[in-house]
């Protein structure tokens, strides 16, 4: 590849685990596998590893391309690579697909070892805590005792935060981007509408759609359309689409007339073809359930009392799904624990999606923070 700031052509790997994983729900995964990618080189004392936790629809393919012909690189390629803010000349970066995912790790699409059939709807409901436990095992598998940093945005930020509580001795830095210490009622409500769209799709068959040779596309599509509306800000939508008409005039129909509709339908269709509905249900549930302060009577500061990592917390002004106010709650709790924490509130008009955008100031922040991490 000619692009010297790209990690280049990468290939996913798979780690198999035979030690049972106790899940928070009470169920046990007797064996499972995680698909992952790595970029950069692990140094001799294994002190330069950074793990990336993905959000709702993310996966292990974080940077680079799988082949020269790939149209798009990994989902956080603008941040990760040689000379980029998360510099792979310095760091060994690990991306993985979480349990319950649909991109290769054990999940609804993989085979249940007990029955030799596809898990489908029987795959357990997994939580952020379960993911973090499985991620720690992946670090073990790679021979890494302590991560230089754990990094995640949105649902990924929740995982990064939970690492600091579950495995304080195993991370030195936690970067929690566009995230929250739990979901608000409004956020749970959005997730429930998305789930209902899927569950009430006649092609859902209680999650056993694979057996019927169909996919609940309509439900997934609506779930994604709803998601997209909430990830963008009103201003960003207005700027991008406004009231623009696709054919220049109103046609008095229910076809696509506004550009906004065209965009939403495109995003919905694309997603419905790529993503598994059972995974979507599980990812949204993991979001809903995450609430570390529930263990300490709602006291987030007490929930973080075991944390020792240094923190970077970043929020975006136009993000109304994971608003700056929620990040400030987290920062307050970290300050109460006298932890090292920096907090940036980035002026951005892309809403929640801003954390994936290559905004200069945002990337300068990430670059400055990663530069100060000693390896």
């Amino acid at each position: 590849m000619s692009d010297t700031s790209s990690v280049g052509i990468v290939a996913p790997k798979t780690a198999h685990f035979n030690e049972p994983l106790q899940l928070k729900s009470g169920q046990v995964l007797s064996q499972y596998h995680l698909v992952y990618e790595t970029y950069g080189e692990l140094n001799a004392d294994k002190s330069n590893a950074v793990m990336i936790c993905h959000a709702l629809s993310g996966h292990h393919h974080v940077a680079g391309k799988h082949s020269e012909d790939d149209k798009y690189p990994g989902w956080w390629d603008n941040l990760i690579g040689p000379g980029k803010p998360l510099d792979t000349n310095k760091f060994f970066v690990i991306g993985l697909n979480n349990l319950g995912g649909c991109h290769g790790s054990s999940g609804p699409l993989s085979t249940n070892p007990a029955t030799d059939k596809t898990w489908g709807a029987d795959f357990p409901i997994v939580t952020v805590e379960d993911w973090v436990n499985s991620q720690a095992r992946l670090a073990d598998y790679l021979g890494i005792k302590q991560l230089a940093a754990i990094l995640g945005g949105s649902l990924g930020g929740m995982q990064a935060l939970h690492w600091s509580i579950s495995y304080p001795e195993r991370i030195r830095h936690a970067l929690v981007i566009a995230s929250a210490p739990n979901l608000t009622a409004q956020n749970i409500a959005f997730n429930e509408v998305a789930r209902q769209a899927i569950i009430t799709d006649p092609d859902f068959y209680e999650g056993r759609y694979y057996d019927h040779g169909v996919l609940p596309r309509r439900g997934l599509r609506i779930a994604r359309m709803l998601g997209h509306i909430t990830y963008l800000s009103d201003d960003a939508m207005g700027e991008k689409f406004g009231r623009k008409l696709r054919d220049g005039k109103i046609k008095y129909s229910f076809d696509v007339e506004f550009e906004m509709e065209s965009y939403l339908r495109y995003q919905g269709d694309k997603f419905a073809g790529d993503f598994d509905a059972n995974t979507y249900l599980r990812m949204t549930r993991a979001l809903d359930y995450f609430d570390p302060a529930a263990q300490t009577g709602g006291d987030l500061s007490a929930a973080l009392s075991k944390a020792t990592a240094d923190f970077l917390v970043v929020s975006f002004t136009s993000d109304w799904r994971f608003s700056p106010a929620r990040s400030r709650e987290l920062v307050k709790a970290l300050l109460e624990n006298e932890l090292s924490v920096s907090y940036a509130e980035v002026t951005a008009d892309h809403g929640h999606d801003a954390f994936l955008m290559p905004d200069k100031h945002y990337h300068d922040i990430m670059r400055a923070y990663f530069a100060k991490i000693e390896v």
């Binding site: 400030r328 006298e338 924490v341 920096s342 100031h361 300068d364 400055a368």
Partner: protein, 205 residues
């Protein structure tokens, strides 16, 4: 002067008040610096006093400079208060040469005394004779400590030492110590006239 020169001028003067501020800080203190700029005060205090400090800074580019200087920095607007900080959670809260640019002056001083056991406030003395002289001639004062023209100044609440003394008295704020400087030297004779920079160490009654 361009803005760059102004900033350099202010920073140079800051260093004078930095040394004096340092004299008021106990070793290992927990310090909050409001409007921390590039974080140089905290960096200095960490070296000399092994303090545990955080900076608060609104401006993006200053925030980045502070981060690059290794300071823990929280981005927020002082005008919205210090609700992100617990009561009495800091030994000292510092507001260095920023008071005059704050809109909610009264609120911020009381917030500082809520969050900190002590507050250190420094500001340019508007009653300094050079300022008075310029007013006598009929113009708004422009000086080393007030390097702005009336139309481009961020300073909205300029005051004199006498004004601030009275403000503290009315607000039930105890002045533990007051220091007045001109050209880095302490001024004891007619400070409200002869002093260009005022420094206060405050606590609640």
């Amino acid at each position: 002067m361009g803005n760059l020169e102004k900033n350099i001028a202010i920073n140079a003067e800051n260093r004078a008040d930095f040394d004096r501020i340092a004299n008021w800080i106990s070793p290992n203190a927990k310090v909050l610096d409001l409007g921390c700029g590039d974080g140089s005060l905290l960096t200095q205090l960490r070296k000399t006093h092994k303090i545990h400090g955080y900076g608060v800074e609104k401006d993006d580019s200053n925030w980045l400079k502070a981060m690059n200087n290794g300071v823990d920095v929280i981005q927020m607007d002082l005008e919205s208060g210090l609700s992100g900080f617990e009561a009495q959670s800091f030994d000292v809260v510092i507001l260095s040469q920023t008071l005059q640019a704050v809109l909610n002056t009264e609120a911020i001083i009381h917030e500082m005394l809520r969050v900190g056991r002590e507050a250190i406030v420094t500001f340019p003395n508007f009653g300094y004779w050079r300022h008075r002289k310029q007013l006598m001639v009929g113009q708004m004062p422009v000086s080393k400590n007030l390097p702005y023209q009336w139309y481009d100044t961020p300073n909205v609440h300029l005051c004199t030492i006498k004004d601030f003394d009275e403000f503290c008295r009315k607000g039930n704020i105890v002045i533990e110590e007051r220091l007045v400087l001109t050209d880095k030297e302490e001024v004891h004779f007619m400070p409200n006239l002869m002093g260009s920079l005022a420094m206060y160490r405050l606590r609640s009654k």
